[in-house]
Point group: D2
Chain length 342, copies 4
């Protein structure tokens, strides 16, 4: 924490602030500048909440300095985390130069739809399958997913196609089941700060794919991962899926610059979801190329055998032939970066 | 849903879109304009997901029209909902011209702090007490609340001061306990789209205070309330607490214009929380005045007997004497609007 | 500027950063903390651009500290600026407890419309008249204002009704004319960072009403005022008119918390424009009450004798009878704050 | 425009709205739905301002439908515009598959710096040189550019290196000079809605590079280009440079999804500026790759021979060797898309 004093703050005011800091068991470090004095604070463990300082005479503002995360940070673990997802057709590696493509329908609708999608996904060379059994929908009257029945269809997909399964959990109950049936537990954007669920995921024995909240800062995003890791589960995959801004030509604004920002601050792999990130079918392929070009460790793509009849998110799902084209393009771009699609 | 065609769309393209609409079991209503044709769609129940239309030749864009909410809307219930919270010192009414002030510390820290805060709250004339026993914190290393012990202290506050208790639930487990110990169940901003929790709250026998999510649109906010109501609990209080924007002089941007917007669209009462809404102690009183002046049905205010020593959110808590002043000012402003503080 | 080092930065890395700082002619102040070292920088005049530091080994981030503004700040002039606008019917004072209501149509359309609006404005007790002769419109095909002819009508309004005139200038040429014909020169939100125009306004002999840009931070807003003042014109009025956010229930999100924030940082008066701030007629009156309650030094209100026939912004203009009601309500709220409508 | 009625609006209310529409000289098209009636409006030229409808009994909301732009739209000109910039070393083509890289320092500081930068730019194979002679700076006390002297240095760069010159104009006076000395006239983000300047640029005989405003929607961006084109200058280049959001890990949020969105709506070429778009040196190269991968028609890159000593924007400028690497990467990615760097 740094306290910035007014240009004309009196010596007495500076001293009073320092004394208040010391009275809280911390150390004050006044730095006299040419224009004004600033006061550094040390001795705190983690973030401090120093309400009173901001209101003291002569104070302009208080600026937080310490980064509160520990386990997610590169400071603790400088080398990239490479996550390994075991599937019936062998391990899939994510991070450290290995890219993973996770593809499939927004929601599992029935056996035939899931199998048709899985066929397309495998044919194009992807090795992880996504599909929602529990769907967080804005309206209580929208299709909410097949639940356990959906998970069983996903287990069949795994067996039949050798694909690893990624699917979302929305509460403790569904997380128990997802942990049992799937290979990766997804926590959705709307639950990024559902700390009770994050802690439960931190006690799971499966990797966690954590999506960035709709208006989460980088720090909040990493702190959500810290919640999972602080409970002992170190296998966390981050995923950018667009943030909410004033911009109205896409459903969300895909923030690709968060990829190098995450990679600088953290050792965890980061994927990009251009399907939710744009919400528009025609933009999925261009933004997938861009995500790989920026250096993402993988993609989440909504593929539907017949998007015009999808029960949810049809507007952003792409058909199999478009996905095939996408895979071919991102493979070529990955190779420009000397990276490989896993 | 309205489909807007290009100015130079051919008759054939318009017809193809109409046919696609009809093939989905809906009705198409082409409206030929001087510049272009638009096509209205009717026959749908709730929102439709018409992925394919957006990509058809000649289509410029698809604009959703139907409002998806039902029970929260004024169309279903034109008159204001007046919520009644029974307390040991009599009923507190909220809505329909009656204002409620909910005040207390961010977190319940211990018996003495809670009682000192409650004394200040009652002395100033407020009748509902807030205080967190379960705290959703950005960092897993921050104080997470006293849990059940906190709820018991709140129950003591109710008994000793006759105040109604408002406190937050963060998952099914804590909601069970909050429902037992408190008078109003608060769902926080971070859980506004935790639909599993909303449904559980919809089965509770206590009123629910639902805070607006950090980047929730008006429609999403009302749909979250619809989740609660769709399970049978019609006693819902909305609460604006600031939204996330680029603006950095306050922690959040308090969106007071949502108050008349909610009141136009819904019959539910809406409170304002200027403590979280600004995150700055000096701004709580001015924004409280503004919230009452704009027509809010009440306020949520963080009051702490010694804010500089608060374990959480000290930066935005006000001391008892400031709260007294606040109450006096908002009472006068309420009377300009012929409304009464309850 | 404060440079935050990594927790595990080596002594050598800290030293290298300090040396780089000193090599730029500045002074480095390392502050060793329990978790990491931070390095304060002093000796700079105004903001510094220290590109290299951010990329040096061991550096986490660089945080700017110094506030770059001078003349607009309370540090230079602690007491409120009270702006005086001379009108044919006597001086109008703005700031320091005196509120000014500026009202009139979005655009001057013709003599009769302007006179009908002026009659309504004066009848309700306002003393400053607004009306655009030069209109910055999103589309080149929309009505762009009457130009000089509009200014002459405004001059007639001043003579006939004794109202002071506030009108917008959009470039050097129109500013020359506005300076001649009007009492206050308005710079619109879209031109808040048109620095060439700000400098020209800084050389004008009339007060300047500066609107906040659509996505301007507090600092940028104040720096725009600094541009005007740095050229010698100290008579600057600020005006909040809503900022752009994801929120879609109003045209802009009126940021009322900027009022106390400006008043803390600067001595300049600040008005609020709820007409542009909401873009919705039904929200103008509630938000006007809120603006006065939060402590604004005045209001800008669009009043049109027949809003449904307005050539621009009819959606947000209110009719005379609504304006009368508004004036009565804000007078009562101002008196709760011991302030007076001028 | 579409007027959405309440579910329970009476026939009389629907009729009243229709009559109001017809009384304004327009045609009303009621579309009775299963839940509610919507009323389409036709007969208008361009956007209509129908203030009164929104307040009529039974009305829920009014939704604008018509796109107001004409000359910029693909509807008027389906094929891509290919802009040709003549330089001493031959024509540079932009658009229609040809990519252009515009590179150089933020500001022209002196002859040696400009020549060193130009040498690096040419050596890496770029053919257009950027450098500011007129700098719009947030603070009046920051370096404002060399003005005419800077333009003369740029003219020397053109002669000595055969590079085409792109530089910013900030008002009518500087535009006259930029038109004389440069090959492409840049209009900066802060002036995107300085309509007076846009019109002047529309009368210039040189191409115009128009940057997206910090919070401009796609429609506003295209309408700004429409201002230029409506005055007769059809040679317009668009440029995405990041928008303002809550996200704080970069200076702006680069909105790459606007590239396919522009390409769908308009025939004009669109460049991307990852230097301003991120404000961080380490992110320029990854985001440059992403911009080319998403399909942009070129890049604007800040290159400085000694970024750590730059007078402005050193934090986001890259050194020559980094630029060389960048050029090599984007060339490879362009070839994946069968496009060529010009």
């Amino acid at each position: 924490m740094l306290v910035v004093m007014q240009a004309n703050a009196s010596e007495q005011e500076v001293r009073a602030v320092c004394e208040r800091i010391e009275s809280l068991g911390l150390r004050a470090h006044p730095i006299p500048g040419s224009m004004r004095t600033a006061i550094g604070i040390t001795g705190n463990k983690g973030a401090v909440d120093l309400g009173s300082l901001d209101s003291m005479p002569g104070v302009v503002e208080c600026i937080p300095v310490s980064k509160p995360y520990k386990l997610v940070g590169r400071e603790v673990k400088p080398e990239d985390t490479v996550l390994v997802v075991p599937t019936p057709s062998g391990d899939v590696r994510i991070g450290g130069g290995a890219l993973a493509i996770v593809a499939g329908p927004c929601a599992v609708e029935n056996h035939d739809q899931a199998f048709a999608a899985a066929e397309a996904v495998r044919a194009a060379g992807a090795r992880l399958f996504r599909g929602g059994a529990y769907k967080p929908r804005t309206s209580p009257y929208s299709f909410q997913g097949l639940g356990l029945e959906g998970l069983k269809i996903l287990a069949d997909v795994r067996k039949s196609f050798g694909l690893g399964i990624v699917t979302e959990a929305v509460d403790h109950e569904s997380l128990d089941l997802v942990e049992e049936y799937a290979d990766v537990i997804q926590i959705g954007a709307r639950n990024m700060q559902n700390f009770s669920l994050l802690k439960r995921a931190g006690r799971a024995r499966k990797p966690v794919l954590l999506k960035r909240g709709m208006s989460a800062t980088l720090d909040e995003f990493l702190m959500a991962a810290e919640y999972v890791m602080s409970e002992g589960n170190y296998n966390v995959l981050l995923c950018e899926r667009g943030v909410r801004t004033f911009s109205d030509h896409t459903r969300n604004t895909l923030d690709l610059s968060v990829v190098p920002a995450v990679q600088r601050a953290s050792h965890l792999p980061i994927l990009v979801d251009p399907s939710h990130g744009t919400g528009r079918r025609q933009k999925v392929r261009p933004l997938s190329r861009a995500a790989v070009a920026v250096g993402a460790d993988g993609l989440l793509i909504e593929v539907h055998p017949n998007p015009d009849r999808a029960l949810s998110d049809g507007l952003q799902s792409i058909p199999p032939e478009e996905f095939q084209l996408l895979m071919s393009e991102v493979r070529q771009i990955a190779s420009v970066l000397s990276r490989e699609v896993n």
